[in-house]
Symmetry: C2
Subunit: 527 residues, 2 copies
Amino acid sequence: MGIHQKFVEKAEKLVPDLHKTIVWPQSVIEVVVDEEAFQGWRTQPAGAVTDKLAQSFGKGESFILDFGDHQVGYVSLTIKSEGSPQDAPLGLKLIFGEMPCEVAELFDSYEGWLSKSWLQEETVYIDVLPAVLKLPRRYCFRYLKVEVIDTSRKYTVSFADIRCTAVTSADVSKVKPLPAELPEDLAAIDRISIKTLQDCMQTVFEDGPKRDRRLWIGDLRLQALANYYTFGHYDLVKRCLYLFGGMTLEDGTVGACVFEKPHPIVDDTRLYDYALFFVATLYDYYETSKDREALVELWPVALEQIRIGLSRLDASGLVRDDDTWWCFTDWHPKLNKQASAQAVLLYSLTRGHALAEVLGEEQEAAFIADQMNRVRRASLTHLWDSEKNFFVSGPDKQISWASQVWMVLAGVLNETENAQLMDRLFEQPPEIGMTTPYMHHHLIEALFESGRTEKAVEQMRAYWGEMVKDGADCFWEIYNPNDKKLSPYGSNLINSYCHAWSCTPTYFIRKYLLPGEAAKEDDGRSA
Amino acid sequence: MGIHQKFVEKAEKLVPDLHKTIVWPQSVIEVVVDEEAFQGWRTQPAGAVTDKLAQSFGKGESFILDFGDHQVGYVSLTIKSEGSPQDAPLGLKLIFGEMPCEVAELFDSYEGWLSKSWLQEETVYIDVLPAVLKLPRRYCFRYLKVEVIDTSRKYTVSFADIRCTAVTSADVSKVKPLPAELPEDLAAIDRISIKTLQDCMQTVFEDGPKRDRRLWIGDLRLQALANYYTFGHYDLVKRCLYLFGGMTLEDGTVGACVFEKPHPIVDDTRLYDYALFFVATLYDYYETSKDREALVELWPVALEQIRIGLSRLDASGLVRDDDTWWCFTDWHPKLNKQASAQAVLLYSLTRGHALAEVLGEEQEAAFIADQMNRVRRASLTHLWDSEKNFFVSGPDKQISWASQVWMVLAGVLNETENAQLMDRLFEQPPEIGMTTPYMHHHLIEALFESGRTEKAVEQMRAYWGEMVKDGADCFWEIYNPNDKKLSPYGSNLINSYCHAWSCTPTYFIRKYLLPGEAAKEDDGRSA
């Protein structure tokens, strides 16, 4: 690893204070099988919290509390014994769920390939009651299942003051209210987007506060965009840029993710597109903050990503393809990533060029401009299929949604051609679709940027609006309206249900749909 | 409850400091099925600790450490991650076992009627490594099974400095060495008795440091006797007497047990014999310590136990029988307890009478003397079967070992008759036998007190000596040489394998077998 200690120290000085809010459970629920409901589980009321806390519980008894909304925080419970003096330890199991499936299905049934340790449960034995059980770990949940493993024949237990101290580095008072005339469904999408971003904003922009809980640059780029239009927490973006810039892989590549604890460290995951997004994220940050000092300091890191990205080009100016997990783009087992990687390179070159010009680095700007032409030319020559009127990718000339969307965002074609390509995508939809909110973000962005506002809103409603209908408190890591039990990990239980890369509808709504904010108008050809 | 606050405060001022010793694991073992071994499990070496700690472990991997001897204390482990940065929590299961069965059989299989929460296991999830895991609870174990629930595909974990801080209020330097000529097997029995007592001596005399972990007066009486001949910790006996004297049941009865935490409290368990043992325990304490101040203060409590005990006599001077768990005597489902209760009453009256005389309470002494005659007369008239030459008990005139042993200890017959009765017991053994070390203690005591030293030693060897052969590190709560899987609780897993009432062989050896200590000589008729 290359460590630029000054950058890491600068990042560490920017660790934000967390805002704390005490949240109490709102109701008692039970989870029942319902084939019509999302993932086949429906919650239904099962009484008032005060009534449940007035009861006492023995071996094998349990209840589920609903905290009313998604929470990220620390939980404590007051526990008392009832009956004879406590003559055996209390055994207690606590299960935290973002979604009903987590408090309904047995964690023991989990057979997915991600670590079982992500499942949020605690087994505690308490020797002396009464006690205030303050759990030291942070949980991410709306539902808390409390299950008494055992008391003894001589005593039972009751609970009081079950609370969550919710934490975030987002200042919710900074979010501007939406105009009243915005349709209600879009207002709901906006609210849930902001809650998603809020719950992911901790001492870095986490990808998911339940699972992974770390800073990925692919997520950071989208979170930063949503943040500029809502909480405006520039220093948190700055901290994250300095973390990535301060700790690169051996050859200087920006890592795909970094960990904060026990000390800042870059993961050994390398992704072609993610490294290049350092350039794009720095560009977006500078454009909004005008923080020239950070730009000057971090520009060499950005430039290095450009050089490393370019080093993958073959003689014809094409990004070399690969069978490994070398480029992310989307969770899709069959997706070929050559075209999208080519487009991400061009997208990043364009932003790098703008930054070089801001800095007055004329030689670098000229170098990048040359490379932009080379990459664009190679894309048009080798990846544009003029018979099918789509971009193709890889040795099998695969046509996918992802390749078209990224080529549009990269601006390989002109504005009119881009808009036509986006229209064609819906008229002749390729078989290789999109699976993540992350990829759907890029679809919507490409539509807005091509002047297809109505289509963009329609697609946002079809995807995030459908999540709302399916009961989302925050937006999810994985969602396929046509396959609602989809998990890339082999189990719904391990999916993250508050996930950074799903938070951008608020950015679209506030950037493209609010009066005075919108930069572009629909050209009227869409829908 | 009656609370004599001054007594409780006096007890609380006598909370002893605990001696701490750091203990490290001695070896790595595995547990294998062996029908010849105690409970069907045998341990065998599986390598050196240093080699095991040099390895790293992933999902589902485990090892078992052997700390070389029974420990009561607090455990900590240093844990490091190896491989890529820790990208998921570490899930860890720790299982503590006094005996091989506990680390070999699955706790999930436990179906006994005592609380499952007594089984010593912890499931912990650790978000950030390296970490020093300091478990806050006290464990009682020789074996520690460490099992990795999950890491992730990208990292494993290694362990270092796994240690136990063992605690006891016993000062081991106070124990006098045995003369070298004592047979080796008796020396081993003495050593293990002392270790049992030591591990039960905490801030009170606990009955079992693994399970129950509280002060029972039946155990206290025996622990105090062993303590006088070994650690000589008088203040700990005094603390326990003041706890029992300071907190009685509503009618003034001394409770069967008390809890220390969260504040001293007497349990609602009432046992006829146990309440009377307050008198006997106070007598033994005064006889050894000559602490007249404590005797003066606690005498009214003792006298009240005598009055309450006497109030159960019917017109004929017999203790009224009962089908409930009103008197302990022994764990035996068929044992009738009338005769043993009658004997315990007389045994306690005798000691109460001696204390009244020490105090110069002549009226009380005279009253007790009258009652002793009444109880003895009724025992001889109604419970002695002169055809069978045994004491009988209850409506079915049951003949048991327990009834004879207790009648001997109570001194209903004269010394010669007592010795003959003890001989007869072995010549014509009654069907209703003995199940606990607690009852075996009274058998051995009755033999010694009847001058049957050889038989006493033979029986001690047959019971405690057999436990040694079966691998005891401490002496057990339950032991039947003819039924080695016996548990009164429905599972071996929940038995206590370091149990106070099993600690008295050191008392017998040091009181009756050492030159200059022995008060009585064998009359030569036994064996």
